[in-house]
Amino acid sequence: MTQPILEARNLRVRYPSGTLTDRLLGRGPRHVTVLPDVSLSVEAGQTLGLIGESGSGKTTLGRAAIGLAPISGGSIRVGDATATSEDAPEWAGIRRRTSMMFQDAVASLDPRMTLGTSVTEPLAIAGGFDGNRRDKAAELLGLVGLSPDFADRYPHQISGGQARRVTVARALALEPDLVIADEPTAGLDLSVQGELLNLLGELQNRLGVSFLFITHNLSVARHVTNRIAIMYLGRIVEEAPTRTIFSAPEHPYTRALIGAREATGGGGLIEGDVPSLTRRPEGCEFRTRCPLATDLCAAKAPALREIAPGHTASCHYAGQPAGVSHS
């Protein structure tokens, strides 16, 4: 197999915590580590789904992959370029072949620019485009089901789902090799969502585009991803082919996620306190909410290990026949 197009290796990201005054006065911890140590790769021409609890660090990982988060350890490699800090010179090259669909679609559009200017902006920045910008804008907007008259409108004059589609069109302007798609279908109706996903699939078939696909929508992930990585408190706790994640999840958190979608009314809920990024539980970080937790889980953190070919999980009891884990 060829090497993955995107590879995060032992990536560590932390933000300054609290206010500036708090930091100056030495109150509380100075940093909050969002991603303690993430390794993850996206194979060329494939789609890796990244799913996890709200606030677990998915957007942070996606942003770090194009150099938009404070990297304090480890590395990001895209193609042949490897970067190890936020201000590495490699980012310019990486960003030329990578597009980002930001989760905050509306905020990511410049309020003073018409949508036509916004969607063709990447072409202008990259240079070398000598076609008609208006025609190109109409073409890009058409890809996402918006009529050409949207080119003259401003971001505050469109609906939430229309803004989402504009950002998708903009991300596709340069025909990137790699797309970091952060909740690309949030806020779309089911038909437009289907159209957009089919469009992304078509691009993948035609141009071999690879996707890191961040989503909360499990039904969408089930259809469009090849593999899925599950994130909890900034760590990947399970990764496997999509079918396996749905048919034979091994980590108790993954099971709860899948269960929550299938159950109507109360099932699949995770009990227990929401853990804190600043006061991470010792041992297994999921143990404060895990229905299977034992003394071992409090004493020792489980390593992410391969439990079947292409299937990793970080739970002491993953890969054991049902029942054994309750001992």
């Binding site: 609290g18 609890e53 909740e183 806020g187 109706d189 038909s191 969502q193």
Partner: protein, 321 residues
């Protein structure tokens, strides 16, 4: 039904400088204790209706028909000051975009305090405790840290839960929630929907819930209104509309739900074609260019709303009572 909390009668809304109305002739009612789900095409006017219910349409928008909250016409009889008071006290909203809903330069804790206006004369410590409790209820980690943070330091789902907390702290008579769970993972969403269902029991009023997620409609709503291109095409109870959809748009929409497709597929179903541009509306039925069941009459004549039972209707020529 007792007197409705919210009643829309033939409401049309046109944005300033727009070539045509974004919402046309929409009528529905929401009673005390009821939750109405609004679903429909992206750009069909759902958020526009929400903005109208809050009296927050951009200046220069043109509204016809009547929109009544507890019997008072929001556009006829109320001054800007009355409206502001209403927004502060009786009507609360969870905005569609969590990233721009909050004030970017004010700490979360202070923003939340402003929402609990019923408690303004209570001691500071008590108000703070109430906020902390609410943040815990919406499953936020590190609630005390969150109170000291600014919106840009929070993730999408955390912001969304802060907005939900704000709306619940306000204890409104009418809660308008515009896609409040799109940024939440499945387990957190299930918990939040549980909290909202509970709040429904204790709230004194009505809820309008805008969403694209049919499973959310099933879990939380009593009634549903389906919008297409600014028009109300079908309405009824959730069981009636999802179980036995009558309008061709509703049927087509439900068939696109990836959750209803068993085998994984890379070719998802869609409704062919696109919504007609605002200034290029067909003369007959608005859905005609995309409708698989269209007949000759549909192109010439716009269908009226046909009543199919008490508070159940669909606007299509092929629908007969």
């Amino acid at each position: 039904m007792s007197a409705p909390v919210l009643a829309l009668d033939n409401v049309s809304i046109r944005y300033p400088s727009a070539p045509a109305a974004a919402v046309r002739n929409v009528s529905f009612e929401v009673g005390t204790g009821e939750t109405l789900g609004i679903v429909g095409e992206s750009g069909s006017g759902k958020s526009t209706l929400a903005a109208a219910m809050m009296g927050l349409l951009p200046r220069g928008s043109c509204v016809t028909g009547s929109l009544r909250f507890e019997g008072r016409d929001l556009f006829g009889q109320m001054t800007e000051r009355d409206l502001r008071q209403l927004r502060g006290r009786d009507i609360a909203t969870i905005a569609q975009d969590p990233f721009t809903a909050l004030n970017p330069v004010m700490k979360i804790g202070r923003q939340l305090d402003i929402f609990q206006h019923w408690y303004h004369d209570r001691p500071r410590a008590e108000r703070k405790a109430r906020i902390l409790e609410m943040l815990e209820q919406v499953r936020l980690s590190d609630p005390d840290v969150r109170m000291q943070q600014y919106p840009h330091q929070l993730s999408g789902g955390i912001l969304q839960r802060v907005s939900i907390a704000a709306a619940l702290l306000a204890e409104p008579k009418l809660l308008i929630a515009d896609e409040p769970t799109t940024a939440l993972d499945a387990t957190t969403e299930a918990q939040i929907l549980g909290i909202m269902a509970e709040a429904k029991e204790t709230l004194r009023g009505a809820t309008v819930f805008i969403t694209h997620d049919m499973s959310v409609v099933e879990r939380l709503c009593d009634r549903i209104a389906v919008l297409y291109a600014g028009e109300l095409v079908e309405t009824g109870t959730v069981a009636e509309v999802l179980g036995n959809p009558q309008h061709p748009y509703t049927k087509a929409l439900l068939e696109c739900d990836p959750a209803r497709i068993e085998e994984p597929t890379s070719e998802l179903p869609t409704i062919g074609g696109t919504v007609p541009a605002l200034d290029d509306r067909p003369a007959g039925c608005i859905f005609e260019p995309r409708c698989p069941s269209a007949v000759a009459r549909c192109r010439a004549e716009a269908p009226l709303r046909h009543d199919l039972g008490p508070r159940r209707s669909a606007a299509c020529h092929l629908v007969t009572p």
